[in-house]
Every structure is written in structure tokens, then in C-alpha cells.
Amino acid sequence: MAANEPNFQSLMTIRLEKRQTWLGITILMGFLISIPFFATDYWITLLVLIFIFTVYASGWNLFSGLTGYTNFGLAWFIGVSGYVSSLLIADYQFFWLLAWPIGAFFVSTISIAVGYILLRIKGVYFAISMVALTEGTRELFGTGFLEPITHGGTGVPFVAGIRLPTLYWSVLLLAFVTIIVCYKITSSKFGLRLIAIREDEQAAETLGIHTTRDKIIAFVLSAFIVGLAGAIHCTYQNYIDPTYAFNIQLTLTPIVMTLFGGVGTVFGPVIGATLFTFIHEILWAELSLLYMAIFGGILMALILFFPQGILGWMKEKGILPRIRKI
């Protein structure tokens, strides 16, 4: 057995040559950019969803995957940013290109305060408090108290004056930039500090890492990225209401995707999002009623038997090099 191992590794190790990867990326991007010119609306919308969830998953992974603080409040980022952006478009006739970043800035600014308060709480309690925050905000947005602004629980249908191809290119750009940002951060010293926090926060503090500051920065960054995607997602759906915007499924799905692809890796969320959106399409068409139950079952099976995800497994087997960059 031991004699066989080195052969397996040298045969199967994928070498990442710089020139080849640049060529591959250019071809892929060229292909994706040209999609609206020849594909049907069905495929364009499918890709839009894939890109949105790639950003959700990558944004979640950027914070939770690296620092180890499981953020169960992704829907809070999406809901708050989505509401700000959609209300600006619907009630104040803002241009979508302005409304989206404003929504993202809004949620990330509040996240500074939220992060400062909640990130002292570790592990399980942090997860619970994020869920509490999401639930509380959802209820709050539905009350009569905030109704003049948020239209209460009735929801806001709206049209943003954006054509599908433009939406597609915007999300494509966002997904591309997000992956680059995640790649850069994970490979950087900042990323290394975050991983140190995950591995042993006390030891990291002893080494002089400013854990609170770094956690908050990662948290706010995650909020901004997810917030942008959330604003676009709501615009895409032409509708928003508290139940949909703060839906637990919006938290659950990116987490499952990231788990499947490999938590803490750069491309894990991308792979997970792509594969799962396809699986979602198939499941939805065939077994729509059981769809969520199957999702829950998959999540359980993943945690029990395959917690490292696809990329994690590949790294363990030596198929992929065990570096932070991927």
C-alpha cells in the first residue's frame, strides 16, 4: 500500500501552470460573455441563478469558511440589502446601478455594528444570534410599525427597467470579481490570519493577531458581497416581501453548496453552486414537493460522511495540491 501511494500521487497530481490557467479563464469568460447572444432565455436565467448563488456561497465561505464562525444569518444580509435596494427602485425611482451598491453599503455599514457586537460571541451562540437577528428583522419589517417604509407584510412588486442580458452581464461581472476577491484574500496574509482564528483563536490572539478587527473586516466584506448579490436577486425576481427576502432557504442553500464543494476553499463554493443549481433544476422539475426534504437529507449526509466537500476530498487524496489558493 505504501509503495503504491507515491505512484498514484505523481500520476494524478494536477499541475497548475500559469499560462494554461490564464488561457482557460479567457476562453471560459469569452464563452460566458457571449451567452446572451445565442442562448435561450431559460439558459440565461439559469446562469443568472448560478452566478447569484456562486456569490452567495463565496461570500458566506469568505467569512464562515475561513474564520470558522458559522454564519446562519446570510438571509439577513440579503434581506436588508434587498429591501433597501428594491425600495429605492420601487418607491424612489432610483436607477438600478445606483440602488444595488447603496443597498450593499447600507447592510455592510450596519454589519460593522452588528459584527462588533455579535462577534465576541463564539461558536454556537454566534450562529443562534444570527438566526435570531434574521428572524427578528423579518418580523420587524412586517410590522405595522415600519409599514410606511417597508409596505409591511404585503410585499412590493416592482420593475427595475433592466433587460435580461444586462442583468446577466452584471451578475457575471459580480461573480467574476467575487471569485478574484476571494482568491486574493484567501492567498493573502489576511486570509492566513483568518484561518488562524479558525484553527485556534486563543493561540492566534497570543501571536498578536487582532482577532476582533480581522473578524469584523471579513464579516463586513462578506456582508457587502452578499448584499450586492441580494439586491440583484430581488431585482431579478421583481418582487420582495419579508418572508422571501429573509427566507431560511437563502441561508441554507449557499451553505449546502459550499459544504458540497469544500468549505474554506476558493473554488469550492463555485463548484458547489454550479452543481447544486443544476440539481435544483432537476429536482424541482421532477419532485418539487419533496425538494426541500431532499435538501435537508443531503445536508445531513454531507456532514456525516463527506464534510470536507469535493475539493477537500481531492486535496486529501493528493489529486489537487494542498494550497490555500484553491
Partner: protein
């Protein structure tokens, strides 16, 4: 003034059921070390158990309460042995995600099989007049049942040998192991007890309110608030916490609105974790 007392007592009755759910959660959390996000789903299953046994074989719901305890106890023990015990060595958050998935799995399966139609168990209707105050029969009987179960639980934990073993494992599982306590068995039994409490609470709930697949989510929110209020692993704290949450909900519903009352668990959790994270009561 009379009105206020009525609201208070109603809050206590409400809280007694919440306390059952909370005590189950904190018991499991303290002894097994797992946060069971699917805890609310077992309350839902208990309610459906009462409904189906009442509808199909006309089983007296009060009997269902008694039956549900061993039934859900064994369900819980099986789930623990097959599923959650594997995660004892894994990081704490894996259990969180696992039970999260389990929760989604259970209520969606329930939705698939039993549909979203509201169900109810119209067994106890009408009310008691009592010194000028009026209380519904179902709520009063539920209160009594909840008190009975709570007393049984406390007696068991305090005086029985198993109960002492459970408390020992909760305080320090390694030392308990060294003392010769079979901590594996303790964990399985405790998990079973937690689920048993949830199931019994579900049957009690079925007497008073409508039953639908997603009802678990409001119970888990309140259960978390209760556990955080009372202190992790602190069962007496969970009892008091449950009563507090019940009273708060009753007061806010009366003087503000039912919708505002839904925010109480969230605010409670956030406030306690920020101001007094160990809970109101020392362990």
C-alpha cells in the same frame, strides 16, 4: 387589574408548555453537547401524533400525552445512536449544521405527507369560570399536564440513580467517565428524554392550537430564548425562563400586538447574549 391578573396567569400557562420544550433542549445541550435545531420539529411530530391517534383510533389525547413520552424517548435514543453520536468527536458546529438539516428534512417530509392543511384536536372545549376570571379548559388542563411532567422530570433527575448519572455527565463528562458512569448510555438516555419532552409538549400543544408542519419553528425560537435566559444546561433556569417568555408574550400580545410578540425571542436572545451571556441564573 383583574384583567391584568388574567393575562399574567394566561402567560404562565403558556410559559409552562414553552418551559417543557426549553427544558428538553437545555438538557440535551448540557449533557450531550449538541444544539438540537430540530427540537421544534419533534414538538410538531408530537402534535401530529396526537392528531392522528385522535382522528384514526379516537385515542383520548390525555392518553396520548402519556404514550408519547416513551414513544418519543425511543425515537430520540435511536436518532442519537445512529446519527448524532457519530458527531461527538467532530467540531461543535457540525452538529449544528446536521440538526439544521434534520429540521428541514423533518418538516418538509411532514408537509409532503400531511399537507399544509390546519389540523386540530377538538377534545377540550369550553372554559372554567374562576373567581370572576375565565380560563379555557384546554389551557388549564395543559397547564396541569405540563406541571405534572415537570415535577416528574425534576424528581427523576434529583433522586434516581440514572438522574444522578445524567447530572454528573452534564457537569463534567470526563470525570463522570472516570467515576464509572457509562457516559455513552447517559447521552443516549438524555437525548431520548429531550425528544420525549418535546413530543409530550407537542401533544399538549395540540389540545390548544392549530397543527401544521411548520409550527416547530416558533417553538425552537422560543426554546433558544429560554435556554439562553436560563443558562446553558440549567434545567431549573429553563423552567423559569419558559415562564418568563410565556408571560412576556402574553403581556406584549395584549398591550401591543401579536406580531410584536413574535419579536420577543429574538430580542431576548440578543440582549442576554450581550449583557449576561451565562444566563440569568448561575449554573
Amino acid at each position: 387589574m383583574v384583567n391584568f391578573i388574567e393575562i399574567l396567569i394566561r402567560g404562565l400557562m403558556l410559559g409552562s408548555v414553552y418551559a417543557l420544550v426549553g427544558m428538553g433542549l437545555t438538557l440535551v445541550w448540557g449533557v450531550v453537547g449538541i444544539v438540537n435545531i430540530a427540537h421544534g420539529e419533534f414538538v410538531m411530530l408530537g402534535a401530529y401524533f396526537a392528531f392522528w391517534s385522535f382522528s384514526l383510533i379516537h385515542l383520548n389525547p390525555l392518553l396520548s400525552v402519556v404514550l408519547s413520552i416513551p414513544l418519543f424517548f425511543f425515537l430520540g435514543m435511536t436518532i442519537h445512536k445512529r446519527i448524532t453520536e457519530r458527531l461527538m468527536k467532530a467540531p461543535e458546529l457540525s452538529a449544528l449544521i446536521l440538526t439544521f438539516g434534520m429540521s428541514i428534512f423533518i418538516w418538509n417530509l411532514a408537509q409532503f405527507f400531511w399537507t399544509n392543511t390546519y389540523r386540530s384536536v377538538p377534545y377540550l372545549t369550553g372554559s372554567f369560570p374562576f373567581f370572576g376570571l375565565v380560563f379555557s379548559k384546554s389551557k388549564t388542563v395543559s397547564f396541569g399536564l405540563a406541571i405534572a411532567i415537570t415535577l416528574a422530570l425534576f424528581t427523576f433527575l434529583k433522586y434516581s440513580r440514572l438522574g444522578k448519572g445524567i447530572r454528573a455527565t452534564s457537569q463534567n463528562s470526563e470525570v463522570a467517565l472516570v467515576c464509572g458512569i457509562n457516559t455513552l448510555k447517559m447521552r443516549a438516555i438524555t437525548f431520548g428524554m429531550g425528544i420525549g419532552l418535546a413530543g409530550a409538549a407537542g401533544v399538549i400543544v395540540s389540545l390548544q392550537w392549530v397543527i401544521f408542519p411548520q409550527m416547530g419553528s416558533s417553538y425552537i425560537s422560543k426554546a433558544f430564548a429560554i435556554v439562553v435566559l436560563g443558562g446553558l444546561g440549567n434545567i431549573q433556569g429553563a423552567l423559569v425562563g419558559g415562564l418568563i417568555i410565556g408571560v412576556l408574550e402574553s403581556l406584549v400580545t395584549q398591550y401591543m400586538s401579536a406580531k410584536m410578540a413574535q419579536i420577543i425571542p429574538s430580542i431576548t436572545i440578543l440582549l442576554i447574549l450581550l449583557l449576561r451571556p451565562t444566563g440569568l441564573f448561575k449554573r
